[in-house]
Assembly symmetry: C2
Homo-oligomer: 453 residues x 2
């Protein structure tokens, strides 16, 4: 019986085989040490997305810092028969010695601006492709989805409820982190709470209520065991009866100096039920008791519920948040954009296959504002000096991270500021307006001259 967990000593195995066969190629040709630059970008936005929220850089840098080939890993690679001994010897001393320039987590980004740029001996820069793509792409996708859900919730609290529907346990851990970057106030995921200091939320399932002879007895049992102010799930049988039972339980709590924090609705017509439950709570004087809704929610449904006047103070969003259900992948790439040639000179490189032009050379992106609001971005060559705020900054040199990772709350704050500065039409849930991303004249010239060649 084998677990499906990934342990830290196996970081080096988390890769497509071809990264290793290519590395072996560079090694055997004596070209391994020639410096190369790769851009990690998202080629284009999925339908209904007007922007991305960058996320995942902390885990990317931790990987680059710690990547080693242990003797156990080397034995396993030897066993595949794909590699020669001298290459495996080389790997035994491997560490990533390169540079990374990247866009800070929590930044609102518009394709095709690179999220990260890796410059290193080509053998190193190539080897890290798969891990960087999966760890940055997934978190960026979920932070973006979370920002949409939180935006639709119009100031109400959103909690990540996705662990059971995420693509395995680690996806749940990373999804919770990204959800908080996108604006969620917490998660039901206990591991994410522990690993990333995220507030955890939870109450009970229907099974808990069903286990007791009646709902009120179940509520009392829960309240007796829970040390703080409990939230009660009131829709197992009849939601309005559940609300009345919760009111009665709140009386018992008050006698102990506690209160009913919230009730949760997980099924039925959430608009009507929430208003009726609000009336029951208010009539009982429980104006501070919140109503929390969950069950198949996403940004579109939340938006419609609030338009229809739902009396909901917070949302638990699971499946659609944790899988980015309407857009469960991003078209991310890791492309060679410059390399040192045999004569020792750095040359920009372009890929021209059908419909997939890459932007060559080491680049920077500048963001221009109109007042406080984002106006347009310009992608240019790194040695240009264009108007606006540069978005890509040095984060690793010689394989060493340059800064401590910001706290998750700082990243969340940055994302909130960035989203507030993003034009409302670009943030629209449906048919968002395109945001202007221009190419500088010098970069355009370079593309043209390489294409002509």
């Amino acid at each position: 019986m084998r677990h499906g967990l990934v342990t830290p000593d196996q970081l080096a195995l988390i890769t497509d085989l071809y990264e290793l066969t290519m590395a072996a190629g560079y090694y055997s040709q004596g070209t391994a040490d020639r410096t190369a630059t790769f851009d990690l970008s998202v080629r284009s936005l999925p339908p209904q997305r007007g922007y991305l929220v960058a996320a995942g850089l902390e885990q990317a840098l931790a990987y680059l810092r710690d990547l080693r080939f242990t003797s156990e890993v080397l034995e396993q690679l030897e066993g595949t028969g794909h590699f020669r001994d001298d290459f495996l010897d080389y790997l035994s001393g491997f560490r990533f010695s390169g540079s990374v320039d990247a866009i800070a987590e929590g930044t609102v980004v518009f394709p095709p601006t690179p999220l990260a740029t890796v410059t290193a001996p080509i053998i190193e820069a190539q080897l890290v492709e798969t891990y960087l793509l999966t760890i940055i792409t997934f978190q960026t996708m979920i932070a973006t989805k979370a920002a949409r859900v939180v935006g639709a919730s119009a100031g109400r609290q959103v909690v990540d409820f996705s662990p059971r529907r995420d693509h395995g346990p680690q996806a749940g851990l990373l999804a919770a982190r990204a959800a908080v970057i996108g604006g969620c106030i917490g998660t039901s995921n206990v591991l994410a709470g522990q690993r990333f200091d995220i507030p955890t939320y939870g109450t009970m399932a229907h099974s808990f209520i069903m286990f007791y002879p009646d709902e009120e007895e179940a509520f009392l049992a829960f309240a007796a065991s829970y040390p703080g102010d409990p939230t009660l799930l009131i829709d197992t049988y009849d939601t309005l009866e559940g609300a009345r039972a919760a009111v009665r339980v709140s009386r018992a709590l008050e006698e102990e100096g506690r209160k009913l924090a919230a009730v949760r609705l997980d099924s039925g017509d959430l608009v009507t039920l929430s208003r009726e439950v609000r009336a029951i709570l208010d009539e009982a004087g429980l104006h501070d008791t919140k109503i929390f809704a969950s069950g198949g929610l996403d940004e579109f449904r939340i938006h419609r519920m609030l338009l229809a006047g739902a009396a909901v103070d917070g949302f638990g969003v699971g499946t659609e948040l944790g899988t980015s259900g309407d857009a469960p992948s991003l078209d991310s790439t890791y492309k060679l954009v410059a390399c040192v040639d045999a004569s020792g000179e750095e040359v920009p490189v372009i890929k021209l296959s059908t419909g997939k032009i890459t932007l060559p050379g080491r680049k920077q992106a500048w963001r221009q504002r109109n007042g406080g609001s984002f106006l347009r971005d310009i992608i240019g060559l790194a040695d240009e000096d264009l108007d606006g705020e540069p978005l890509i900054e040095p984060v690793m040199r010689d394989g060493i991270p340059l800064h401590r990772a910001p706290t998750l709350l700082d990243v969340q704050r940055r994302a909130a500021e960035q989203l507030a500065a993003t034009p409302e039409s670009v943030r629209a849930l449906e048919r968002p307006s395109p945001y202007a991303v221009d190419i500088s004249p010098r970069l355009r010239q370079l593309v043209d001259s390489l294409r002509d060649r």
Copy 2:
């Protein structure tokens, strides 16, 4: 800089908080030891799916066998403020002592037949909900998607190319496992190759070709470093020129007693290009050199390509396979279906909230065949004796797995046999026919009598 990995000592933290708050509730009420039975089921099939391929049981059982609360984990739980000390003491001695009955991995399953049934003291059965849901649901979803892709490939080889687009590294590991269950011959995922003895495949990226002054030099460099028969990526510049360069490289390989195993196409009109490349290879006498296609493939595109006469021998499928792109979640549930009441008697339990009826009691499902082909399933009570092959079998007693896990190849073989016995109309890529899943008269009576109560 924190990694986003999940280590084996943290198994107990991979849960929604509410599993723990409910467990604390049962504990404080003295009801923790009353036996309960939960069904893990998928409520309904997503659009375009006519069946599911069960997967993930091995990891589920490994989790139940190994689940412990280490002192470090207990400290972390204490720090959340959600739990009383006596409950944390209880957890320090926790081990799962219950029973699991389940459908074997690789079995074709039709909702709402339970994939697994857990019977244990309710505190234990409840605690394991989140992990079981995520580990079984995700793998079942991907094994199902893989079966569709492999089916569309009509006997050609399919390799999992998904690591970069999976929802993080562990999702990639689990996706590769599930993909093989669904019929893939291997994966590009090196870790999955090592962990689950899956053949690994890989050649080179466009960046490798672009790094060298010309394509043929890149091919030669790769061939020089690769110990076996190489596959060459021929579409970086002009695919037909690439094919001719690959033919020239094959001559050099032949002199060393090697051969060109395959060429890979990753862009452009794969139907036309594959036929033209086949002609170039055949003209050069390279009838054994395979043509491998990749790039944005899924079952629908593969089906159309083959209908149009593509000359492709194998497919690399990434994004859509590893994320089940058109259906990235399954509507799975873990529902209380029976419990021992205060008088010590086991009673069946039903949930009646809007549109979400559960099937009460301990159950079995029987599969009836027409000749070799699956005809219909009947879900009944476990103590019934109905016609057909029972699908749910004992896999764990007293917290101990009853059998060694079957090899992945055995599971793959089972899935292939099961799929071959599934009516073609049920396996259709679009608008599959519904498969008959009946409820036994006794189970129907039980539902009715509980609903009336």
